[in-house]
């Protein structure tokens, strides 16, 4: 079966005061129906920018697709008109943002906003759209959905708003749901509910989910495959279990080992965390012909400073862009 989405050699450039920089630099991946693919990496590595590119929502004037393809249903979205992209956003690909208040309209009730999406994209009547909106609120487990549909966003708790936004994103029955840090601002108990919800929905509708997160634990729990991004590039790509058990890129290894995880065999001993020194380079330093992780890397050699690492493919499906991937 052909993948649902194929991204080929995508390069996105941003024009900033410091010049033009590739915020996404030669990114390729596929997404299959019914799977969850996770993007991880530190702040500023291009995770949200990837999502925005898929949605056709790159920052106005300064962002553009410089080369590459985004193929969805045999159609290259990088060539699609604005009207066509809007249509796709309404019907096929939808997104949940980190901060629900930015995408919910404060002056309309939750029910009205969901019903509006249904009317626009499925041509439902006013009454039918409202009934479906209540049904969706029920599906995302808002208690007393009939009553709560008439609430304004500010009358809901953070977790409820996030669930309402998921209901809105689902209103058009998307084939791809992009969730950009959907739970970062929420308590873990609420996060667990939202994750369960996403898992159920995926099972019921076989939608594909792209989950963007900082949290390796969330990746382990939610996704089959993952992409580790660093400075606009794919550092590592492959099956989640394999990567977590044996990362092949020093950056992935650092991301996993610098975090204090809750583990089954807890001991009195608490050794210091393994540090990854330094910070992510700023956008103006993206795109150079060398390994952009070199200044923070414990495995660095001259070769790393001299040219951009090529893909190293392993037999288990893992791909690491590192000159020394085999040494890890």
């Amino acid at each position: 079966m052909a993948p649902l989405l194929e991204v080929e050699n995508l390069r996105i450039e941003l024009t900033t005061r410091d010049g033009i920089a590739p915020v996404i630099d030669d990114l390729s991946f596929t997404l299959n129906a019914g799977e969850t693919l996770s993007f991880v990496g530190e702040s500023g590595c291009g995770k949200s920018m990837t999502a925005l590119a898929l949605m056709g929502l790159l920052p106005d004037k300064i962002g553009r697709v410089a080369s590459g393809k985004i193929i969805f249903n045999n159609e290259d979205l990088t060539q699609a008109s604005d009207a066509r992209l809007r249509e796709i956003r309404g019907n096929d690909i939808s997104m949940i943002f980190q901060e629900p208040m930015t995408s919910l309209n404060p002056v309309f009730t939750i029910g009205e906003q969901i019903a509006e999406v249904l009317r626009a994209h499925q041509g439902l009547s006013r009454a039918a759209a409202w009934a479906k909106a209540v049904e969706l609120l029920d599906a995302v487990r808002i208690p007393n959905p009939k009553g709560r549909a008439s609430d304004y966003p500010f009358q809901m708790s953070g977790g409820q708003r996030q669930r309402a936004m998921i209901a809105m994103a689902l209103a058009c029955e998307p084939k791809i749901l992009i969730a950009d840090e959907p739970t970062t601002a929420l308590d873990v108990t609420v996060q667990a509910q939202i994750f369960d919800l996403l898992t159920d929905l995926r099972r019921q509708t076989s939608a594909a989910i792209i989950l963007i997160t900082h949290d390796m634990g969330a990746v382990a729990e939610m996704a089959e495959r993952m992409i580790v991004m660093y400075a606009g590039r794919k550092a590592e790509f492959g099956p989640v279990d394999q990567i977590i058990t044996h990362p092949r890129h020093p950056y992935t290894k650092g991301l996993i080992s610098c975090v204090p995880h809750i583990v089954s065999d807890m001991t009195e001993e608490r050794p210091d965390l393994i540090e990854v020194p330094g910070i992510v380079p700023s956008l103006k330093d993206f795109g150079q012909d060398r390994c952009l992780f070199a200044s923070r890397c414990a495995y660095v050699t001259d070769k790393c400073q001299a040219s951009r690492p090529s893909k190293k493919l392993f037999s288990n499906g893992q791909i690491a862009d590192c000159w020394h991937a085999e040494d890890l």
Binding site: E42, S43, R141, P143, S157, G158, Q160, D187, V188, T189, Q191, A192, Q193, F195, D196, H214, D215, M216, G217, A218, V219, A220, E221, M222, D241, I244, G254, L255, I256, C258, V259, P260, H261, I262, V263, S264, D265, M266, E268, R270, D272, L273, I274, E275, V276, P277, G278, I279, V280, R296
Partner: protein
Amino acid sequence: MPKTLLDVDGLTVRFEVKRGSGWGKKSYLYAVDDISFEVKQGETLSIVGESGSGKTTAALAVARLVPAHSGTVMLDDGNVLEKQGEDLRQTRQKVQFIFQDPYSSLNPRKRADSIVREPLDNLSEKSEDEKTTIVAELFEAVGLRPEQMKLFPHQFSGGQRQRIGIARALATQPELIICDEPVSALDVAVQAQILNLLRKLQREYNLTYLFISHDLGVVQHMSDAIAVMYMGKIVEHADRISLFTSPRHPYTQALLSAVPTVDRTQRAKQKRILIPGDPPDPINLPKGCRFANRCPIAEAQCSQTEPELKDVGQGHKVACHLV
């Protein structure tokens, strides 16, 4: 056995809230409601709990940054809540705060060295030379370079700004440092650098931390003991190993079961306990246990009487009728 540095007893903080119209009687929100805990010198007590459970308010009250309604906060041998004048100034030197947001907690118009120096100017009688020496030592202790002293906050990265905040908190040689979500705004790699730094400083200066975080992995790594709060109450209080390996309160169990983890063994044995619904209205608290409406094991008595925090063995304290 280390001595008890901080001994909080019956601490209550309430806020007056306006609700409804007219001349009705005043309502109060009990953000912190009769909580008690101890912290041993050189150790870390973490407070965890969901948003709005009263963690920050409790910490602010300990540092006299919000007024307490009742209770005592014994530090060394005096009650912090009763200090006045010079005594209070002495106490302020002993208790310092590190805030969550390294972006907004530093004065943008001041240079790094004067930010670090400020508590010395305000709270100590040291000479100018002494202060300059102390500031230089602090820069080194937190891993900043001397030439960075004259820079402004916006010229630092998030992690470096948090280092400035830590240096500032150390300036008066405090005994107790309250860290309110000190790494929540930072990326994981920088978070590791700051957590290691906090532990190194703790060992070097025998510091006592009151540590607030919503990240249970971080809490597990940093703490000697943990207090779990729910709606202004401490519902469980135990040492690190007991709390994480045998949580007793149903809220703590739900909380721990919700944490996603990379450890496959842990994930396999972890059975997620859902607590649907919302916490009750804090201004209109129900009778009985505040967790009862979401509790998977609640019985009739739970909505009748409020459970007390009691020792269930080896200092492990739980507030639940069914434990």
